[in-house]
């Protein structure tokens, strides 16, 4: 029997699908690679680290191999007072955010300044590095750029970390891992919409706010307030602590799950957290048998809850 071979059909199919991918993948990519990073985008990606989801350096999403964001009020070498400055500390072995090994991601100007003035090409993951965000001029225009302070000022990660109190260290990168792992983004979007949302949730993100960030975790199904600027609306660590432990403590109508399990075994003072007792007391409170709800334990320094709160408060 003479079989039809569908030669024309197969070519048409290749043309149709290839054309579609040309328009929807190749052409937008030309526009997207031209986008230069904003200062906000540079800071965000430096504080998040390389990946916010599964990666080989953090396969169980425990917040391993992530940078620490440190608020410096004095020079860590000399001790001289300085304007409060955020330093992004990558301890030895922590994977850099992609824009350090691939500065092209930063876009014109940002890339050039980061290489020429910031010396980011001299940073080595094995030795660790401390990054700052500066502003400079390139071909007459202002751009933010990344300064590798380990190369330019000899600020090593241990020098910087040992010069500050724990309350000035934020584990934002590890907190983003918690945000992804715990599925916060299934209800809380990170994308105020362009058509409305300005008044309550704040300005929508700009084109260059995401360079070197992955996953962007915009979220698609908003069942809860947008969080892109939550740190500007509510900067209370105590409120966040209570809200994560049991959202009904601060918002009786909330449908958010309780994230008390992120506290782990012990609280900040090293005492074992008795969850059963807490829940019994809380039930007594909701039943009207207690006047006040039980106190929420302060999360330990290395608890998941602390990291998540650091991340949430960093969303300004």
């Amino acid at each position: 029997m003479a079989f039809r071979e569908y030669k024309i059909g197969a070519r048409m199919f290749g043309l149709a699908l290839g054309g579609s991918m040309m328009i929807t993948l190749y052409m937008p990519s030309l526009d997207i690679v031209k986008v230069g990073s904003t200062e906000y985008g540079v800071r965000k990606s430096l504080s998040f680290g390389r990946v916010g989801g599964f990666s080989l350096e953090d396969p169980f999403l425990r917040g391993w191999s992530k940078p620490k964001t440190v608020l410096l009020k004095k020079d860590p070498r000399t001790g001289a007072a300085m304007d409060p400055t955020y330093a992004y500390v990558y301890e030895p072995g922590v994977r850099f955010t992609s824009s350090i090994p691939h500065p092209r991601i930063l876009g014109v100007g940002v890339k050039d300044l980061s290489l020429e003035k910031g010396h980011i090409n001299e940073a080595r993951e094995a030795e660790g590095a401390v990054f700052l965000v500066q502003e400079g001029r390139y071909e007459g225009k202002k751009y933010p750029y990344i300064e590798n302070a380990t190369a330019t000022r000899n600020w090593t990660p241990d020098v910087v970390l040992s010069s500050v109190k724990d309350s000035d260290i934020q584990k934002i990168g590890s907190g983003k891992i918690m945000f992804v792992r715990e599925g916060c983004w299934w209800c809380h979007t990170l994308l105020p919409e362009e058509t409305q949302d300005w008044q309550v949730f704040g300005a929508p993100p700009a084109l260059g706010d995401f360079n070197s960030e992955t996953p962007t975790a915009f979220g698609s199904d908003r069942k809860a307030p947008d969080l892109l600027h939550i740190g500007s609306r509510n900067s209370s660590r105590e409120w966040m602590m209570m809200h994560f432990f049991n959202p009904r403590l601060v918002q009786p109508h909330s449908i958010m799950p309780r994230f008390d399990y992120l506290w782990g075994e012990k609280d900040a003072s090293g005492n074992r957290i008795d969850y059963d007792k807490w829940r019994a007391d809380y039930n007594a409170y909701t039943a009207g048998e207690r006047v006040y709800p039980p106190d929420v334990p302060v999360p330990a320094q290395d608890s998941d809850a602390r990291m998540l709160i650091d991340f949430i408060l960093s969303l300004k």
């Binding site: 579609s20 997207i32 991601i105 599925g183 995401f210 070197s212 962007t216 975790a217 959202p247 309780r258």
Partner: protein, 468 residues
């Protein structure tokens, strides 16, 4: 199942792979909808089960989605391909053994992947949540063996031309390879920023547009003519459907990100292409409705046709919503609200599930040569699915409109949550009905395999439906 993994190819009875895929898909459907019902309960009653990360909404939501897409829908598709492709090529499946291995590796891989996802090990990208090594597994051990079997069966066919259903099957398995590979490039090659965001939604859009929608439609192109005995109304309209899926459905990915800072031209282009989705949709629905001419009593009498045509008819509201809700004029109102959740369930639980269920019902009876154990239970399943789905769809659509209004008037968010509460309860009731119906289905199919009346040679299952 295990005994055929190492059997000689000729010793494996025809249709084995299809039966395994069919039963697996029903089991995954029960699991997936059970998880869905549990998730819905948590949205209605947040303290329902609490204090453990494994029963936290954020850990379970994606397991529901992936169990349903990769377990139920895609395995039901594989089931349909394993018996429809050879039937339409007047031949046998190219490799029954590859089919059995495909099903085995699919179940093993998906179980592992969902356990990881449940533990929170996720890429953080919606619909491509699996970490990259699972994505590679999905492509290598799920997508490629399935596609290979379909393609080789089509190539080795003993008919001159290829029937509509098989164009769709062969086209879709090829396109899904591309979608699985390209959509996960951000994870393989550490692509970041807007590229990652866009490719996430390119994947999510195309896995629906180039895999779920065309394969589900292809099932209707088989079951309706097969059961009613009417030939397909128009081969040419089938062509129009196929080509417009390839051209129009593969392009509007950016309409999922209408309010994000993507290039404006891309969003406008996607929006226009999105309206053109109505071309394949109208071609499909009208072709099937006209095929039913004179045989509409099957819609009432015959349970497989009831499922098929319900799926086809649900494609009308699906595409009317889908075509227009993504335009700028409407999208700003309903973006990110429960409306979209309702729409997604209309696509997957309404339109496509009913078509897949018809393929699984019909296929299992045909291959096992056993009549359905209980027609009454099948009708119970149908009505529980339909009423449960409608309850879900309507309640979530209303919830979405409330959210939309609250969004544009920027009322305090908690007022939206309070206003949505009754609809969250309705959603849970609807989802639980679907789950209950599926448990009944699993029982019915299990009993069919064990105790169903044998179908004599030369007869078709639907001819015997009302015979004792």
């Amino acid at each position: 199942m295990f005994k055929y993994l190492f059997a000689k190819g000729d010793d494996i009875p025809r249709g084995t792979a299809a039966v395994y895929f069919g039963i697996s898909s029903i089991i995954w459907f029960v699991i997936g909808t059970g998880l869905g019902s549990f998730n819905a309960a948590k949205l209605a009653f947040p303290d329902f089960v609490t204090g453990s990360e494994f029963f936290s909404f954020g850990h379970m939501r994606q397991v529901h989605v992936m169990a349903v897409i990769f377990g139920w829908i895609s395995m039901a598709f594989a089931m349909a391909m394993m018996y429809i492709t050879p039937a339409l090529g007047n031949t046998k499946l190219w490799s029954e053994k590859l089919g059995v291995w495909n099903c085995f590796l699919w179940n093993v891989g998906l179980s592992l992947a969902l356990c990881l996802l449940w533990a929170g090990i996720s890429s953080g990208r919606e619909y491509s949540d699996f970490p990259w090594f699972i994505d590679i597994y999905v492509l290598a051990f799920i997508g490629i063996p399935l596609g290979l079997n379909v393609w080789m069966t089509v190539i080795k066919r003993r008919t001159q031309g290829i029937y509509t259903t098989n164009w769709f099957f062969a086209g879709a398995v090829f396109m899904v390879w591309i979608v699985l590979f390209v959509g996960n490039l951000p994870e393989y090659f550490q692509l970041t920023g807007l590229t990652e965001a866009y490719l996430t939604w390119w994947f999510a859009h195309n896995v629906l547009g180039l895999w779920i929608t065309p394969v589900a439609a292809a099932i209707a192109y088989y079951t309706v003519p097969k059961i009613t005995g009417n030939p397909l109304y128009s081969h040419r309209i089938g062509h129009l459907h196929f080509w417009s899926v390839v051209v129009f459905y593969s392009t509007p990915a950016a309409h999922h990100l209408m309010s994000s800072p993507l290039p404006e031209w891309l969003k406008s282009f996607a929006s226009v292409e999105g309206v053109l989705i109505l071309v394949p949709a109208i071609a499909f629905v009208s072709n099937l409705i006209l095929t039913m001419t004179g045989k509409w009593h099957y819609f009432v009498d015959n349970v497989e046709t009831k499922f098929t045509m319900t799926g086809v008819l649900l494609a009308i509201p699906l595409n009317m919503q889908g075509g227009f809700q993504q335009t700028r004029a409407i999208n700003w109102y309903i973006h990110g609200t429960g409306w979209i959740v309702a729409h997604a369930h209309l696509a997957l639980l309404g339109f496509s599930t009913f078509l897949e269920a018809s393929a699984v019902y019909y296929g299992l009876q045909t291959i096992m040569r056993r009549k359905l154990y209980s027609l009454a239970l099948a009708n119970f399943h149908f009505w529980f699915l339909l009423i449960g789905f409608c309850t879900y769809w309507i309640s979530m659509t209303i919830a979405g409109l409330i959210q939309g209004a609250a969004k544009i008037y920027e009322v305090p968010y908690i007022d939206t949550v309070i206003a949505e509460h009754p609809y969250m309860i309705a959603r849970w009731v609807g989802g639980t009905m679907v789950f209950t119906g599926n448990c009944v289905w699993l029982y019915n199919m299990w009993m069919t395999a064990r105790e169903g009346t044998l179908i004599p040679e030369g007869r078709l299952p639907h001819e015997l439906a009302y015979e004792r």
